[in-house]
């Protein structure tokens, strides 16, 4: 390699374990990018995903519960969880506690209580917007986790 091409070659980055930025990106949106040296981009991602998430809660969006009678709830709950531990706030806002599963027995008194809590949010005029914001925040963070993985493995500059 000539001296000129050495001077213009991009700096090589030390190899990074790709799972570390992925885990960090899940723990806090944008943290994976900050870990990879993209501080400004990571902070923008943090602001955008958190704004989307908290607007979802403020707009009466409801966290989804696993319900075997409604298979799509598995996808929605997985999507809710993708936003990271901060997702717990939406559980407390919706159900008043850490609930992830609808009791299988319809006669269980908890079913009526949980359904009633969701109905209270459904009555809000912004419920659909809130749900959309909450689900979008989860989808955004899934993309951020995959993006952090691609950057760490060198698939993306």
């Amino acid at each position: 390699m000539s001296e000129t091409s050495l001077a213009t070659a991009p700096p090589t980055r030390a190899p990074v374990d790709p799972w570390a930025p992925c885990l960090l990106a899940w723990l806090l949106p944008g943290l994976g990018h900050i870990y990879l040296g993209r501080k400004r981009t990571g902070l923008v991602f943090l602001a955008v995903v958190m704004a989307t998430f908290f607007l979802g809660i403020a707009s009466s969006g409801a966290a989804s519960l696993l319900d075997p009678r409604q298979p799509l709830t598995y996808l929605a709950t997985f999507d809710n969880l993708a936003v990271g531990p901060v997702e717990i706030i939406s559980r407390f806002a919706t159900y008043g506690g850490l609930v992830y599963r609808m009791p299988p027995d319809e006669g269980d008194p908890r079913v009526a209580d949980l359904t009633d809590r969701v109905r209270r949010r459904v009555r809000s005029v912004t419920y659909e917007y809130g749900n959309t914001f909450l689900l979008t925040a989860g989808l955004m963070n899934m993309l951020l986790i995959l993006d952090a993985f691609d950057i760490a493995t060198g698939r993306k500059d």
Partner: protein, 59 residues
């Protein structure tokens, strides 16, 4: 809480546009361009779809 449908749509479009601009572009100018294109497209297309739906009520 934002109660206006239009404002909700604009805020949502803005957040999604900024997200994808930062995800897919690296330069500040490119990010701004992509933000405007995605955000503007989402708002304009939503309004077009809304007007197209207007003569076709569900019931």
């Amino acid at each position: 809480m934002i109660r206006s449908h239009f404002l909700n749509m604009v805020v949502f479009s803005g957040l999604v546009a900024v997200f994808f601009a930062y995800l897919t572009q690296s330069g500040a100018r490119d990010r701004l361009r992509v933000t405007l294109i995605i955000g503007g497209s989402m708002v304009v297309l939503s309004l077009i779809v809304a007007y197209v739906m207007y003569p076709f009520p569900l019931r």
